[in-house]
């Protein structure tokens, strides 16, 4: 006796080459494999090889292969005042630059949160500095800071003849100014998204509750934006510690070593002078550890936000 079954009412796709259907697990592997390959070859391998090199004496321009010398590179570096100076410069730069970005960025966000004519357009315009190549623009700021030819000396704040010569006397400050100029829009964007997420009715309730503008800012606006602001600060701190492009552009590390950040020092160690590749790798690893520590704070903080 034949048992008839009714076919499902859904419309299956035209059965073309059904036998080439790949199973889920194959697709999984296929989709992830290329990324993993890239990851391993360009990230993991270099990391490990760098680690190895950091324990060796090696110069890539010389003929000798790397010679194992244990932690000697690290010892030398950690007792070298120039290295500490570079870390100090980097730390100071990160502190000044991130504070500046946070203040300016938050201020910009407060300004642009209201919807007024052309506010969208103006916001986009203010984004532009963030989109430019840091080194190229950094070089151009050299011109702006030039005591004779640059517009910085001719601002209305001071007499051109006695204007501060940024590139000579306040080089680090000069780089900080460029960095704040470039990256405040990033902080602004994050704060803006936080500000826009605050529902209007909270402010209306506060108004009915007889709270003045300052109280509203302190009790409603600030607590709501604080997490995002902090996020931006952490992110920019990590980037500031890694700074290379901007500094190379504006000062190249000089004058002398007043703006020699760790990354610049690294570059000089590897590509200039004696090409002390082994020692440079050690320095790179020290820097990596510092940055990892800060990044951990970042990730921990992110997780805390996600849970809230």
């Amino acid at each position: 006796m034949a048992i008839t079954t009714t076919v499902a009412a859904t419309q299956p796709p035209p059965p073309r080459a059904r036998r080439f259907e790949l199973g889920d697990s194959t697709i999984q592997k296929l989709f992830i494999l290329p990324t993993l390959v890239f990851l391993i070859v360009w990230n993991i391998f270099p990391l490990l090889y760098s680690l190895y090199l950091s324990f060796t004496k090696y110069s890539h321009s010389g003929k000798l292969p790397p010679i194992w010398i244990g932690t000697q590179n690290y010892a030398v570096l950690l007792s070298d005042p120039k290295v500490w100076h570079a870390f100090a410069v980097t730390g100071m730069y990160a502190l000044l630059s991130v504070s500046g970005q946070a203040l300016v960025g938050f201020g910009l966000a407060l300004l642009l949160r209201a919807k007024f004519k052309a506010s969208g357009l103006l916001t986009t315009l203010i984004l532009i500095p963030m989109m430019l190549s840091p080194v190229i623009v950094g070089v151009f700021w050299k011109l702006i800071f030039d005591p004779l030819m640059g517009i910085f000396s001719y601002l209305k704040f001071w007499d051109p003849a006695t204007a501060p010569i940024m590139l000579r006397d306040h080089a680090l400050l000069g780089v900080v100014i460029v960095d704040v100029w470039m990256w405040s829009p990033f902080v602004m964007l994050l704060c803006l998204s936080g500000l826009k997420a605050i529902p209007d009715y909270l402010y209306e309730a506060a108004l009915v509750d007889r709270a003045g503008p300052w109280r509203q800012f302190w009790k409603i606006t600030l607590p709501q934006v604080a997490p995002l602001l902090l996020l931006a600060v952490l992110f920019r701190t990590i980037e500031a510690l890694k700074a290379f492009d901007v500094v190379m552009g504006v000062t190249g590390g000089g004058p002398g070593n007043t703006t020699e950040m760790v990354s610049i020092q690294l570059y000089r160690l590897v590509f200039q002078g004696q090409a002390q590749t082994g020692r440079a790798s050690a320095l790179a690893y020290i820097m990596l550890i510092v940055i990892l520590a800060v990044s951990n704070v970042y990730v921990w903080y992110l997780n805390r936000i996600k849970e809230a």
């Binding site: 697709i27 296929l30 890239f38 300004l111 984004l127 070089v139 990354s263």
Partner: protein, 340 residues
């Protein structure tokens, strides 16, 4: 039968339902004369701030079209006669002519428009400079690496989003952590590796490197976007008989389109502006624009006009992209930072 009084009265914010247009309510404190100025003040302040932020960019534009002496004038000139000097210096190699050769050159009648301008400075055009080639390199490497990073990132993001892969958390963390690395840490081994494999100063070497660095960002960002697409759509398609790949193509891709564009924009901008790797891993053949614009040396010192011209050319595509795709950008930045 119901009363049907048709009316096109607009509704205030509190009374809108899904799909109805929202009208800004007119608050008492915004209507009374004193407070009305609030918005106008903001507008003025915003215009001033935007202008100040853009002064360097405007100055770049102005310097790019200044003649050579004007570009380095003391004090800096705001009003000037525009000239192509900067661009000529950027795109061509020239040589300073001796007085004798100068006289000969001046007598020629077959000079092109550009050569005439060069002549004003007492120079003769030898041929195109390296800049064109470098610009081309920038284009090729940026586009190729962006395409790869987004394509591969999309696939991996999908896999990470939809399946519980062994060690997923660890892989994702690793991917994230590569963003934290300073470029120089990785450069040394890669430099050695490339040198050994003959990939130093090659297009393919740079493309693959940029792809690798953009991948971490693109996987994270795209995973966030894909996470937002409900799984139910694909599951329904699978039940209907579609293969996983077809479901991916028909359902996930269109919905992730905005995310894909946002990611692509960021990858493109990163690759376009990248300096450190290009400086350290290329020299003549595959060098992109950023390392070289910084050091355009002409005869007699830094050619600010040419540097400005190069900077201007280099930033125009970015500005255009920023404007055209600003909505995607905004979504990407806030999304990426929060989602990570």
């Amino acid at each position: 039968m119901t009363a049907s009084v048709s009316s096109t009265a607009q509704r205030s914010f509190a009374e809108t339902g899904p799909g109805t247009p929202v009208v800004e309510s007119v608050r008492v404190d915004q209507v009374t004369p004193g407070a009305r100025t609030g918005l106008t003040v903001r507008l003025i302040a915003a215009i001033v701030v935007a202008f100040i932020m853009l002064i360097p960019v405007i100055w770049i534009g102005m310097t790019a079209i200044k003649s050579r002496p004007d570009a380095t004038a003391v004090p800096p000139k705001v009003i000037f006669q525009p000239s192509w000097d900067g661009f000529i210096g950027l795109f061509t190699n020239r040589t300073q002519l001796s007085s004798g050769a100068l006289a000969t050159q001046k007598k020629r009648t077959d000079l092109s428009y550009w050569e005439k301008i060069a002549l004003i400075r007492g120079m003769r055009i030898l041929g195109p400079s390296k800049f064109v080639g470098q610009l081309r390199n920038s284009l090729i490497i940026s586009l190729a690496s962006t395409f790869l990073a987004v394509a591969l990132g999309l696939l991996s993001a999908y896999a990470f989003s939809r399946w519980d892969i062994k060690g997923k958390g660890d892989w994702l963390f690793f991917i994230l952590s590569t963003r934290m690395l300073p470029a120089v840490v990785v450069t040394i081994p890669i430099f050695l590796m490339y040198r050994a494999l003959g990939m130093y100063d090659t297009h393919i070497g740079m493309i693959l490197l940029y792809t690798a660095f953009n991948l971490s960002f693109s996987v994270w960002l795209l995973k966030g976007f894909i996470d937002e697409i409900p799984k139910e759509y694909e599951e329904a398609a699978l039940v209907d008989g579609y293969s996983r790949l077809q479901a991916f193509g028909k359902i996930v891709l269109p919905q992730a389109a905005t995310g894909i564009v946002a990611t692509a924009v960021f990858c493109l901008i990163f690759a376009w502006n990248e300096f450190a790797f290009s400086l350290m891993l290329t020299s003549a053949r595959a060098r992109t624009a950023p390392p070289s614009i910084a050091t355009i040396q002409g005869v007699g010192g830094i050619e600010w006009g040419s540097i400005a011209a190069g900077t201007l050319l280099f930033l125009i595509p970015v500005v255009i992209v920023t404007f055209a795709l600003r909505n995607y950008l905004l979504r990407g930045v806030t999304f990426g930072a929060i989602r990570q």
